[in-house]
Symmetry: C2
Subunit: 189 residues, 2 copies
């Protein structure tokens, strides 16, 4: 029976595969992602990869989710302002890294394989960060029924726009402005 506990063999194999896929994505981009090369780099049989990720799009989506899970955990600081600031700071740090910036740009460029990867990655991320909004509703900081996806879109959109199209800095000013504007936009108390 597979041992999927954290630290178990199955989990170590999963992480080795995702790390290898991520390294390959970052150096060569989506189009070049090869399950054969990832399996070789991770020291496993190709079938081990295919069993869990039937297509390279599935593998790319999981590798990016793995990156986000590791580098961009969902914060729980006790206040909406604190949570929004913490998650946006992580995102800005992450997409400011040249290797990650390259992946984001490539992802934005493609509309075939990458579209599926993008879609599952973002659905997953928006769903995970819903906890931030739900906690804020529980604490009475946001109105019941506030759409978590909408809050996150508004919070992160200026950072991605600056990165991808405006060539304006992702600095502390953007961070504070985005948090403050988002709180005001959703009538946070």
């Amino acid at each position: 029976m597979a041992d999927s506990r954290p630290g178990g063999r199955s989990e170590r194999v999963r992480v080795a595969i995702l790390d290898a896929a991520l390294a390959q994505l970052m150096s060569d981009g989506y189009d070049a992602l090869s399950i054969g090369r990832v399996a070789k780099a991770a020291g496993v049989a190709e079938t081990t990869v295919y069993r869990r990720w039937p297509t390279s799009a599935d593998l790319a989506a999981s590798a990016l989710a793995h990156l986000a899970h590791t580098e961009n955990p969902i914060p729980d600081t006790g206040s909406l302002a604190g949570d929004l600031r913490a998650i946006l700071r992580q995102i800005i740090d992450l997409i400011s890294r040249p290797d990650v910036e390259r992946i984001v740009r490539t992802s934005a460029a493609l509309d075939t394989t990458a579209a599926e990867t993008r879609k599952s990655f973002w659905e997953n991320r928006l769903a995970s960060s819903a906890a931030i909004v739900e906690s804020a509703v529980t604490r009475g900081e946001l109105a019941a029924g506030t759409d978590p996806g909408e809050v996150m879109e508004f919070l992160v959109a200026p950072a991605y726009l600056r990165l991808l199209l405006l060539d304006r800095p992702l600095d502390a000013d953007l961070l504070e402005t985005s948090v403050r504007r988002t709180l005001a936009a959703f009538g946070a108390s």
Copy 2:
């Protein structure tokens, strides 16, 4: 002496060149933009193009500014809400066109030639739309000192994020939400 009045010969030549450049950008992308082919399509000598646009990046930036100028004029409806709704509707209509979507995606992907094009295009657009915020300040709808670029970034960012990364619809709901959230974010009265 060159006749640069609207409808004058110099102006007709300029528009013919920009139309040809735009058509080529839309069909073949940035990387393939060739001043020689643009000159041929516009029926002018290459030197006529080079005199005004020394590099293909200059030409691409002007062609996109020409598209924006034609399809996306700065509105003046008499209210901030009206202006924001009008300009965002135009932008959504424009970037929803498959040929324009392709240019936006390509533009986001590249970080060499395209970066200069992107930068001058956006600086130009943010500067033109400053009039919307300035009028709103004059009417007392926004506080004096409101940064026009910041307002425009917040207004349009979710639409670009949806187009480029989220694969979520650019629909009437996004339009209304973005306008409403932006008004609230900047404390518009």
